[in-house]
């Protein structure tokens, strides 16, 4: 936005914020202005309306610069120096910055921190700070079901809201304004479609401005616009809410499959343009979907196959009895190197979600991964990860850092291990309390009106999602370094406490100095059993630590007032980035080296073949967390001449308890060649942690970690 326009926007947004009488109408008033600027005009060739850009000031559940009411101070800081602005205007920009510096929602959360939290955790980037973890700020991973909106239409929903307008009138007034805003967005786009000479599109947009969606095109358009205006970056169970419309139109002959593919391709474009490759999940599959859902799923996979983008993060929930064509198509598409869809195993995950979230089978049926792979209950729960815990750093502190007396004075391994768990328990409680504080402050400041329209119970209760409207208030804690910590503990138990070949003092000194003059000891540590090789001792330690950390975190929920608080082991790329700030570890890892990703073995340490890897993976309990990433890498040969063997492998893995699989398909030497000649490998897509990326776009430390991963 050019300078004068941005300043005018900032002034008016702030004016609306300051003059409103309650948070509901305040949000609606701010959103009205915000949507006029963030939604961009249609291009003449667009099939789906809803181009969207980020704004440096606004109200959103999740933005680069914060959550709730946020401001990008750098963007407004530039206005204070902008020569096209007068001195009073520059002064005005300065005042906006001053106002929002304390008035933005994140600042209000941070202001409420007790000092001990910031003594234990880092609060803001850079992520290359050595720390026990970060306190994060976002309401991410909103996965909604727009079915009620599609069925009733904007008008029908307004009627419903008017009927309910008792108890909390301000809430319902805000909701009504939000719905009218959605109507206006549709009508604005209809006008543009008319100007662009697109009568069909215009008619669809005018229709959905008020009426229920009657066709696949209308349903897709209304659902997408709703998602965009709501501020979510994830798109829910698309085959579930669009499948029936598709089925009806195809059966009636009013839509062909090619036309549907064109629509989806344009929708994938819109999603790509929003430029959020950590989120952008589209979920397919699950056994509770309507007729036509399978057809939608097949077309969605075909769209991804044709486009080869890094989003949407197409996800397929597989289950016993699923139409075989879906699975075969999924493997075909993965085999082409798209990394999509990611395969989730409902037979394992639904019982796991029941246990972890404490819900019944019907509720668990609605589980969906969002973002990098955290589970929420679609349209019923929020479970944003608002903190990270670096279990390897925490261990290192006990071995040779500020708390090194723990190691030097431990009588035996169990004592050391229990001191470690005590420390994790202490830190996890802070993080859980932080999560609740974040929700509470956000709930006081924001209604997140569109979420409150879609989510079960909010309209009935007359409350916003974060002020008691939500059925299940969850939270998640991102854990990093757990595999390296477990491998370190395996090595310590053997060498220090069983074989007595290394004293605690010698180990601590070697780690503190990053093995200076101690290369043989490092090699000895590297030579100890490692997780990922089906080795009973290494895997038992990993499974034990995994279960203990997950249980400790889970048990924080009741005292915090959350319905669930669960570990997620989703490790986008931060396993590598955090690694740069993490000291040497007792698994033989050098200081500054990347750490293992997700539940995967340390890169390159799985050396006993893919069956051994898969056996190790299924040893980690899935019933105690809310999602863990399992990346696998196969050679192209496995998806061509050896395809039956690959299918045998995956089937056995899933049958034996494999929760999910994210698969990158490569030829040997691809990554090394891409480093040398990046321009020739622009289209090489890899699964990093919980997201996919073009390899050549990644940071060097992440590229190095990926190169070391085993290719089967």
């Amino acid at each position: 936005m050019e300078a004068k326009k941005l300043l005018r926007y900032g002034v008016e947004f702030t004016q609306r914020y300051r003059t409103a009488t309650d948070k509901y109408t305040r949000e609606a008033a701010c959103l009205e202005l915000q949507l006029r600027h963030s939604l961009l005009p249609m291009e003449p060739t667009d099939l789906v309306a809803g181009r969207h850009r980020r704004l440096p000031l606004g109200v959103l559940p999740q933005e680069f610069w914060g959550l709730g009411y946020y401001m990008d101070e750098a963007a407004f800081g530039a206005l204070t120096r902008d020569e096209t602005l007068s001195a009073p205007e520059q002064q005005q920009a300065q005042e906006l910055i001053r106002f929002w510096h304390t008035e933005n929602t994140r600042a209000k959360i941070v202001a409420a921190y007790p000092p001990e939290w910031t003594e234990e955790f880092a609060c803001q980037v850079p992520y290359t700070t050595p720390t026990n973890g970060f306190l994060l700020h976002r309401i991410s991973g909103i996965q909604m079901d727009p079915t009620r909106l599609l069925r009733l239409g904007v008008g029908g929903l307004l009627d419903l809201v008017r009927e309910k307008s008792t108890g909390n009138p301000a809430f319902y007034a805000g909701v009504q304004q939000a719905l009218l805003l959605l109507r206006d967005v549709c009508l604005r786009y209809a006008d543009q479609a008319q100007q662009n000479g697109r009568p069909d599109l215009e008619a669809d947009l005018r229709h959905i401005a008020w009426q229920p969606a009657a066709t696949f095109r209308q349903a897709l358009q209304l659902a997408y616009l709703f998602m965009v205006v709501s501020g979510t970056w994830n798109y829910g169970r698309m085959d579930q809410y669009l499948g029936a419309y598709l089925h009806r139109d195809l059966a009636a002959g009013t839509l062909t499959e090619e036309e549907a593919l064109d629509l989806l391709s344009d929708l994938w474009c819109r999603i790509e343009e929003r430029n959020d490759y950590f989120d952008s999940r589209v979920i397919l599959g699950g056994c509770d979907r309507p007729k036509g859902a399978d057809t939608f799923a097949l077309l969605a996979m075909e769209t991804t196959r044709r486009r080869r983008g890094v989003v949407p993060q197409l996800t397929l929930r597989c289950y016993t009895g699923m139409d075989r064509r879906l699975y075969d198509t999924a493997l075909d598409v993965i085999g082409e190197g798209t990394t999509f869809p990611m395969l989730y195993n409902d037979d394992v995950n639904i019982p796991a979600v029941m246990d972890a979230f404490g819900v019944d089978a019907a509720t668990a049926q609605g589980y969906v991964p969002f973002g990098c792979g955290e589970y929420v209950l679609c349209n019923q729960s929020i479970g944003t990860p608002s903190g990270t815990l670096h279990t390897l750093h925490v261990l290192n502190e006990l071995l040779y850092g500020d708390r090194a007396e723990a190691f030097l004075t431990a009588a035996d391994f169990e004592e050391l291990y229990n001191r470690y768990l005590d420390r994790i328990r202490h830190l996890a409680r802070y993080q859980a309390a932080h999560q609740k504080l974040e929700y509470d402050v956000c709930g006081r400041e924001c209604a997140f009106l569109y979420f409150s329209i879609a989510f079960d119970d909010c309209l009935e209760r007359g409350l916003g999602v974060l002020e008691g409207g939500l059925r299940h208030l969850g939270g998640t804690l991102e854990v990093y370094g757990n595999i390296n910590a477990a491998d370190s503990l395996t090595a310590i138990r053997r060498l220090v406490y069983q074989q007595h070949t290394v004293t605690p003092a010698r180990m601590a000194e070697a780690l503190r100095t990053d093995f200076a003059g101690q290369e043989p000891l490092r090699r000895l540590l590297l030579d100890q059993p490692k997780y990922g090789n089906d080795h009973p001792e290494a895997d038992e330690m990993t499974a034990r630590l995994h279960r203990d950390v997950c249980t400790i975190v889970r048990d924080c929920a009741p005292q915090t007032g959350l319905d669930s608080y669960l570990v997620v082991i989703i490790n986008n790329e931060l396993n590598a980035v955090f690694g740069t700030a993490t000291g040497a570890s007792a698994d033989g890892r050098r200081a500054g080296q990347y750490m293992a990703n997700g539940n995967n073995p340390m890169s390159g340490m799985d050396q006993k073949g893919v069956t051994a890897l898969l056996n190790s993976l299924v040893k980690l309990d899935t019933h105690v967390h809310a999602g863990a990433v399992q990346n696998m890498r196969f050679s192209r040969e496995m998806f061509t001449t050896l395809r039956p063997k690959l299918e045998g492998l995956l089937n056995t893995y899933f049958r034996r308890g494999g929760a999910q699989s994210m698969i990158t398909v490569l030829s040997r030497g691809d990554l090394e060649a891409a480093l040398k000649e990046p321009e020739k490998y622009r289209n090489l897509v890899v699964r990093v942690g919980g997201f996919s990326a073009r390899f050549v776009d990644l940071q060097p430390v992440v590229q190095q970690e990926l190169i070391r991963r085993t290719l089967y």
Binding site: E519, P520, R523, D534, T611, A612, N615, L642, G648, N651
Partner: protein, 259 residues
């Protein structure tokens, strides 16, 4: 307790027989193929292998090498020890996969081989052998599900020169094994300058055609991946060129089994 000297167990092998397999490598072989890519499989005793590029010069060799520069190849294992990784892999075998007994020459340790085959059969596991057929134990072979036998060179003079033994007993063993009723897969490593001629391949193909239980004839192109192991054993590797794709196509056209 039956014990054998084993130099490796490869889990999830995709190229050593049908399905997903576990390959058990027996140490010790009566033949001395000049192109052998597993030269550490020749001797029947443990051997040290030395990879100088891995040595960090720490001078603590006596404590046992920290870096893997010095590795002891081969260890005595019991049937139970060998069965442990096999049983861990068993769920992945499916209908086709199983265990491949390889080497070295597995038939050189017959007592153990017999016990291992029995243990696999008791678990219902498909068993295959990769054998030179330089030795012959029909009482074991008859229990297997698949025999993969090499016919390396047809010309006996060349065979003696490059393999270190006559091929007559080998051919005789294969003929007799054909009477056991076990499916036979005949294989030939294609070594440029040695047996990469149509005459060689055609002769071996005709031999394969004369067998009644043969299920296939495969040509395996020479690869030089074993060179560093020759050096690690302190020997100079014998180098051959790698057959081209076109050459392999032409030879495979000669190797068609069905008349």
């Amino acid at each position: 307790m039956s014990v054998a000297i084993i130099f490796d167990i490869e889990r999830s092998a995709m190229h050593d027989g049908p399905g997903i397999r576990t390959v058990v490598f027996f140490k010790g072989c009566p033949l001395r193929c000049r192109w052998c890519h597993n030269p550490e499989s020749w001797a029947f005793a443990p051997q040290e292998m030395y990879y100088p590029e891995k040595c960090i010069g720490c001078g603590r060799c006596a404590e046992g090498c920290y870096t893997g520069a010095r590795q002891l190849c081969g260890q005595d294992m019991t049937v139970e020890q060998v069965m442990a990784p096999i049983l861990a892999d068993k769920p992945y075998y499916g209908a086709e996969g199983g265990v491949t007994l390889s080497g070295g020459e597995p038939q050189c340790q017959p007592e153990f081989l017999n016990a291992l085959v029995d243990a696999c059969r008791a678990e219902g596991i498909h068993t295959a052998i990769e054998t030179s057929m330089a030795v012959y134990h029909p009482e074991i072979l008859q229990k297997l599900d698949l025999i993969m036998a090499d016919v390396k060179i047809w010309d006996d003079r060349l065979h003696q020169q490059y393999v270190g033994a006559s091929n007559r007993p080998i051919q005789e063993h294969i003929r007799r094994a054909d009477g056991l009723g076990v499916p036979l897969l005949i294989r030939t490593p294609v070594i440029p300058g040695v047996n990469d001629t149509e005459a060689e391949i055609t002769a071996i193909r005709d031999f394969a055609r004369s067998l009644k239980n043969v299920v296939g004839y495969e040509l395996l192109p020479y690869h030089p991946f074993g060179e560093d192991k020759w050096q690690a054993l302190g020997r100079e590797p014998v180098r051959f060129s790698v057959p081209t794709t076109e050459q392999m196509q032409a030879l495979r056209a000669c190797a068609v089994l069905n008349k």
